[in-house]
């Protein structure tokens, strides 16, 4: 088992080194693709908390993404707030809305909860188009600021003028969110979230307030989606109602399932594969959905535990003698 652990750690460091070193080399167009992959990976971590770990499938994450992006856009463009206060306020607003939606929605279980989140997402999409005074309607909002320069302790500053620096800015948030997820899931509190996904009735019976844990998990997932929304707004400078289109919320679920739900590597691998494959094939946008749909179906049929599940199974086969005593390794 020790061997497995250390090689996984090595793989993480290798991935981090690649994420830092590759973009300056390839440059240009690929950097913007990688930035988007990082932003959608954050979205994938958002759905991973509520679905992957807590077992409550939400199709409404695109709405929180939109709320985060629009709250940030309105605060900066219309109310002329500074970058960081607006960032913080937008994330708090998204979390608060997640909390308020979560209280009634999470009383429902299974398909009923899924439908409520989907309905919520559709409603937000409509509001963003219809509330023209606030959101700019179908034209959207333009002129969303790039991050303010961050002063460095030894003098000088980190400025975010280039596309590459924005990429590092987004990558930094992705890393923070990964560390956050990892420490949450390895804590006692995180273990009770996972317990809810295994068996909610038993978890409640063991003295755990499952309702409050689910609301907490949903609120965290809203906050993460809000952060992704803010980063997207700042990266893209322009936002329009399509970003909160409910189908985007389903895309992220597909990314997570292909990557492997309830794992640390799953959100990144799934986003990478499903965003990079159509990009590399240079297909027309309408074909992307088709390709992603086919990939998702193949995974659901042949490898429902996703890429990470497949890698783990492979690993167990290679080291069968060592691990068979303990059952398959946990992602």
């Amino acid at each position: 088992m020790k061997n497995l652990f250390s090689s996984k750690t090595k793989a993480w460091f290798l991935a981090l080194a690649l994420a830092v070193a590759v973009p300056p080399v390839v440059g240009g167009y690929l950097v913007s693709i990688l930035t988007l992959i990082c932003i959608w990976s954050i979205m994938c971590f958002s759905i991973n908390i509520i679905y992957g770990y807590t077992g409550q499938l939400s199709l409404g994450q695109a709405a929180f993404f939109g709320i985060g992006a629009y709250a940030f856009g309105i605060l900066t463009v219309k109310l002329h707030m500074g970058f960081w206060p607006a960032f913080l306020a937008a994330v708090v607003i998204t979390g608060l809305i997640g909390f308020l939606i979560g209280i009634p929605a999470l009383k429902l279980r299974g398909p009923y909860f899924i439908l409520v989140t989907l309905g919520f997402s559709v409603i937000i999409g409509v509001v963003l188009v219809a509330w023209v005074d606030l959101t700019g309607g179908a034209n959207g909002l333009a002129g969303i600021p790039r991050p303010n320069p961050v002063p460095l302790p030894w003098g000088g500053q980190l400025s975010f003028d280039s596309l590459l620096s924005i990429y590092y800015f987004v990558l930094f948030f992705l890393l923070i969110i990964m560390i956050f997820t990892n420490s949450l899931i390895s804590s006692l509190l995180g273990k009770t979230l996972v317990a809810i996904s295994y068996n909610e009735t038993l978890t409640e019976s063991l003295g755990i307030n499952t309702m409050s844990r689910k609301i907490l998990s949903f609120t965290i997932s809203a906050v993460l989606a809000g952060i992704a929304g803010v980063l997207y707004g700042s990266y893209n400078v322009v936002i329009s109602p399509e970003i909160a289109y409910f189908a985007k919320g389903m895309d992220v679920v597909a990314y997570l399932i292909v990557g492997g739900a309830g794992t640390m590597a799953g959100p990144i691998l799934g986003t990478l594969v499903l965003m990079a494959v159509p990009e590399l094939l240079q297909v027309v946008p309408s074909l992307k959905t088709l390709i992603n749909g086919i990939i998702l179906m193949l995974f659901l049929v042949f490898l429902p535990s996703g890429i990470t599940g497949g890698v783990d199974t492979l690993w167990v086969k290679i080291f069968r003698s060592r691990i068979s005593q303990h059952g398959p390794a946990q992602g």
Binding site: L189, T201, L202, Q325, G327
Partner: protein
């Protein structure tokens, strides 16, 4: 003063009374068995006691406090916990992970401390692991603690489900058919475990169909039929009760198994 006192407890599903006007009590340290034919309302009674169902009428007093209508997690925190007939365990976790979750309700560590991994959060987690190991060896699963629960034998699953309940540190443990689906030899081991649970001061309420087990380990037995209490007494008294023989025990007395 009784540890648990139930009075006038009734649960109706539409027009059907699953439990009707039930009165009984469990004393501290006692082992009370509840027997009766299928559909007599035994599991419904457990669901009422532990808050999974809300009673139509009646009162449940536990440890001198009225717990009627409280949420299941609150009742567990007050010291009454159950196992499930279908042997609920966390299939995908290891035995140790399972029991740690049973212990998690004792942790008062919030989100921020959990994420930052503060000393108190780490201390609580360490304590939970220690306590979980203790309970695992108490139920006799120490050599399987790193096994995924899914791969356990039926008997080991039963033991694990009891370990989960014990991890909450109950005063009263409700066992719903712990001996279903295990063989005679394993049943002996299970009886020995229940005996040790009582010795550490935990009262037990048992639903069971295996009469050999019920008759030998119970202090007292109550018999349910159509949701009503038709007999309450020592194993001896109940075994000789004409109503009970007619409703339920006829087969047992004939076969003596």
């Amino acid at each position: 003063m009784a540890l648990l006192k139930v009075s006038g407890l009734t649960k109706r599903f539409g027009g059907l009374a699953a439990v009707e006007d039930l009165d009984f009590s469990i004393q501290g340290g006692e082992l009370l068995s509840i027997i009766g034919p299928n559909g007599a309302g035994k599991t419904t009674l457990f669901n009422l006691l532990t808050g999974f169902y809300r009673p139509t009428s009646g009162r449940i007093i536990f440890n001198n406090a009225d717990i009627t209508g409280l949420k299941p997690y609150r009742i567990t925190r007050r010291g009454m916990v159950r196992t499930f007939q279908m042997t609920h365990i966390f299939q995908n976790g290891t035995v140790l992970d399972n029991v740690i979750i049973g212990r998690a309700s004792h942790s008062r560590i919030g989100l921020l401390e959990s994420i930052l991994g503060t000393p108190s959060a780490r201390r609580e987690k360490k304590k939970a692991i220690e306590k979980a190991r203790e309970i695992i060896s108490f139920v006799g699963l120490e050599d399987q603690k790193d096994k995924t629960a899914h791969y356990l034998t039926e008997e080991a699953r039963k033991r694990l489900s009891i370990a989960l309940a014990l991890a909450t540190e109950p005063k009263l443990l409700l066992l719903d058919e712990p001996a279903a689906g295990i063989n005679l030899e394993e049943m002996g081991g299970l009886m020995e475990l229940i005996d040790r649970i009582r010795k550490i001061g935990i009262s037990v309420c048992l639903i069971e169909h295996r009469m050999r087990m019920v008759m030998s380990i119970s202090d007292r037995i109550i018999v349910l039929n159509y949701g009503r209490n038709i007999a309450d007494g020592t194993p001896e008294e109940v075994a000789n009760n004409e109503d009970v023989i007619k409703a339920y025990l006829g087969g047992y007395r004939a076969a003596q198994c």
